[in-house]
C-alpha cells in the first residue's frame, strides 16, 4: 500500500486533471463489466496496463506484481465456479466420481470461469490505473470539486495524513519491544502486542488533542480551508478516455453480433 502511494507521486500522469482520470477509470470499469466478454476484458487490461506503465512510468514488474495480488482470491473463486457436482457424468467435459456423485468441469462452467477471471483482472487494472497515477491529495481535491460533503473529504484527508504517523509510531514501538525480546515467545508476543495496541491508542488520542491545539493556533474555524493544487485542466483531456471507451463499446457490440458471443 505504501509503495502504491510512493509510485502515485512519481507517476508522470500526476499533473493531469484528477477528475479526468476518475472518469476514465470508472467509465472503462463500467464498459468492462457491461461487455461481459473475455476479449474486451483483455483489451481493458492492456489499455490500462499500457497507460499506467508507458504513460505513467510505473515499472512494469511492479504493475505485474500488483496484478498478482488479487490472484489468490480470484483462483479460488474461479475454481468454485468452474467445478460442479452432478449425478450425470455426461454433463461434464472431464469428471471424477466421488461418493456416488460426479465432480467435474462442464463447458458452461468453464466458460463462466474464464469470463469471470478476465473480467475481474480488467476491473482491477482500472483501479490500479487510478491509484498508481493519482496521489491521494489530488483525489481528495477532485472529490471536493465534485461536491462530495466537506466533512467526508476532510476526514479522508486527516485519515490519510495520520495513517503514516500511526504506522511510524507502531513501527517504533514494535522495534523497541522486539529489541527487548518482546516477541521471543508466543505468550510474550501476545503481551507485547497488547501493549503496542493500547499505547498506540493513547498516543493517537494525545496526538489528536495536540493537532487540535495547533490548528486552533492557526485560526481553525471548524473547516480545513486550504489552497487548491493546480492541475492541467483542458477539455482535450477527455478525448483519449472517451475514444478508448467508444472503441471498446463498438468492439463489444461487433463481437456479440458476428462471433455469437454471449448475450449480456
Amino acid at each position: 500500500m505504501i509503495s502504491i502511494d510512493k509510485y502515485a507521486y512519481m507517476s508522470k500522469l500526476k499533473s493531469k486533471d484528477p477528475i479526468q482520470k476518475i472518469i476514465f477509470a470508472i467509465l472503462t470499469l463500467g464498459v468492462c463489466l457491461w461487455a461481459n466478454s473475455p476479449a474486451i476484458s483483455l483489451a481493458v487490461l492492456f489499455i490500462m496496463g499500457w497507460v499506467t506503465v508507458v504513460k505513467g512510468g510505473i515499472p512494469f514488474l511492479f504493475f505485474i506484481k500488483l496484478m498478482l495480488v488479487p490472484m489468490s482470491f480470484l483462483v479460488i473463486g474461479v475454481l468454485s465456479v468452474a467445478f460442479n457436482v452432478s449425478t450425470e457424468p455426461e454433463a461434464f467435459l472431464a469428471s471424477v466420481p466421488l461418493a456416488g456423485v460426479w465432480i467435474g468441469v462442464s463447458k458452461a462452467g468453464l466458460h463462466q470461469a474464464v469470463l469471470l477471471f478476465f473480467k475481474a483482472l480488467g476491473a482491477v487494472s482500472c483501479l490500479y490505473y487510478l491509484s498508481l497515477g493519482t496521489p491521494m491529495i489530488d483525489l481528495l481535491a477532485a472529490l471536493r470539486r465534485l461536491k462530495v460533503p466537506r466533512i467526508m473529504v476532510e476526514l479522508m484527508g486527516l485519515v490519510y495524513r495520520f495513517i503514516f504517523v500511526l504506522l511510524e509510531t507502531a513501527e517504533t514501538i514494535f522495534t523497541a519491544q522486539n529489541s527487548r525480546l518482546g516477541y521471543a515467545s508466543l505468550s510474550a508476543g501476545f503481551r507485547s502486542l497488547g501493549g503496542l495496541v493500547s499505547s498506540l491508542f493513547i498516543r493517537a488520542y494525545k496526538r489528536s488533542d495536540e493537532l487540535y491545539t495547533a490548528l486552533e493556533a492557526r485560526g481553525y474555524d471548524g473547516e480545513l480551508n486550504v489552497l487548491e493544487e493546480y492541475h492541467e485542466r483542458h477539455w482535450t483531456g477527455y478525448i483519449p478516455p472517451l475514444a478508448a471507451n467508444a472503441f471498446l463499446i463498438a468492439a463489444a457490440l461487433l463481437l456479440r453480433r458476428f462471433a455469437g458471443g454471449p448475450a449480456g
Binding site: 490519510y160 495524513r161 493537532l211 491545539t213 492557526r218 480545513l224 489552497l227
Partner: protein
C-alpha cells in the same frame, strides 16, 4: 506602539488535574528582539506559550499584547492568533495535510485573504524557509528537519507580529540547528518581527538571542542579557541547566588555572577576544 509587544503580569495557570504549571510569571517581550525562555523539562515553557495566544486562559494574572489586555472573545482570539504565531515542537502534530502547499496555506486561507495574496504569501514563506523544492512532495515523505521548516512556513504565512517557537532546534542535527536559527534571525530582522523561543539548548542562546528568561518549576528565576544570565552559573546548575561549553571552559581557566581574565565569555568569538587580550597582556614590554 508599546515598547513591549507582549507582557505577562503575575501569570498563574493550573491544569484541570490541579497541576500548577505557572506560578506567577512576569515577563516582558521586547518588540523587534529575539527572546529566549530557558528552562529544563517541565519548567512550564510550553504552558506559557499556550497562554500567549489564548489557547489556555490564565487562572489569575494578566497578559498584555501591545499594552492591551488580551481579548478572549471569538474575534479577539482570531485577531490575536493571527498576530502571535506559534510553531509547535513536534511538526507531526501541527501538519494536518498530506500536501505541503495545502498545509502552509491553511493559516492564510483562514484569514479570508484573496487567493492571489494567499499564493503570494505561501510562495514567499516557502522561499524564506528554503522549502520551495518540496512543494509537490507529500508531507509523510519529508525528513524531520524539512517538516519543521514546513510548520514554520505554515505560521509565517499569517505574517504575525510575534513568532513564538517551542523548541525550534530539538531533534535537529548540528547543521540543522545553525540553519534554522540563522533563518529565524534573518526573518526577525527583515520582517521586523519579535521572536520568542523556548529551549534547553544552552549554546544557541548567546549566539542568537538578545534577551533571556530562565524558568524553573513555573517561575522566572533569572532574566537579563545572555551575558548577565550566564554570569549566574550556580543558579543555572541548581535548576538542571548549565553554562555554554565555552563559558564553562573560561570559568575553569579563570578559577582553577588562575588565568587573570576580566569578565566572562560565553561564545567562541568572545572567548577568542579575551584570550588574545590575555596573550597580548603577557608579552614583555
Amino acid at each position: 506602539m508599546n515598547e513591549n509587544i507582549l507582557e505577562t503580569q503575575d501569570l498563574c495557570y493550573s491544569y484541570p488535574d490541579g497541576t500548577q504549571a505557572l506560578k506567577g510569571v512576569s515577563l516582558k517581550i521586547k518588540r523587534g528582539l529575539t527572546t529566549a525562555i530557558l528552562g529544563g523539562n517541565g519548567a512550564g515553557k510550553s504552558t506559557l506559550f499556550l497562554n500567549f495566544n489564548g489557547i489556555l486562559k490564565p487562572s489569575s494574572g494578566k497578559l498584555l499584547f501591545d499594552g492591551k489586555p488580551l481579548d478572549y472573545s471569538h474575534n479577539g482570539l482570531k485577531e490575536l492568533r493571527r498576530s502571535i504565531g506559534v510553531v509547535f515542537q513536534d511538526p507531526d502534530s501541527q501538519l494536518f495535510s498530506a500536501s505541503v502547499l495545502q498545509d502552509i496555506s491553511f493559516g492564510a486561507v483562514n484569514m479570508r485573504l484573496p487567493e492571489d495574496e494567499v499564493r503570494r504569501r505561501v510562495d514567499s514563506a516557502m522561499e524564506r524557509t528554503g522549502i520551495a523544492h518540496l512543494r509537490s512532495k507529500p508531507t509523510h515523505c519529508l525528513s524531520f528537519g524539512q517538516k519543521k521548516r514546513v510548520s514554520l512556513a505554515g505560521v509565517l504565512v499569517m505574517e504575525p507580529e510575534v513568532l513564538v517557537l517551542d523548541e525550534p532546534t530539538s531533534g535537529l542535527d548540528p547543521m540543522g540547528v545553525g540553519e534554522i536559527m540563522k533563518l529565524l534571525k534573518e526573518t526577525q530582522r527583515e520582517l521586523g518581527i519579535s521572536v520568542v523561543i523556548s529551549t534547553h539548548d544552552i549554546d544557541i542562546v548567546p549566539l542568537y538571542c538578545d534577551y533571556a528568561y530562565v524558568m524553573n518549576e513555573g517561575r522566572i528565576v533569572l532574566e537579563g542579557t545572555p551575558q548577565k544570565v550566564f554570569s549566574e552559573a550556580e543558579t543555572l546548575r541548581g535548576i538542571h541547566l548549565r553554562l555554554p561549553r565555552v563559558g564553562h571552559l573560561m570559568e575553569i581557566l579563570k578559577h582553577k588555572d588562575d588565568f587573570d581574565f576580566n569578565g566572562t565569555a560565553v561564545t567562541i568569538s568572545e572567548a577568542r577576544r579575551m584570550l588574545k587580550k590575555w596573550k597580548d597582556g603577557r608579552k614583555p614590554g
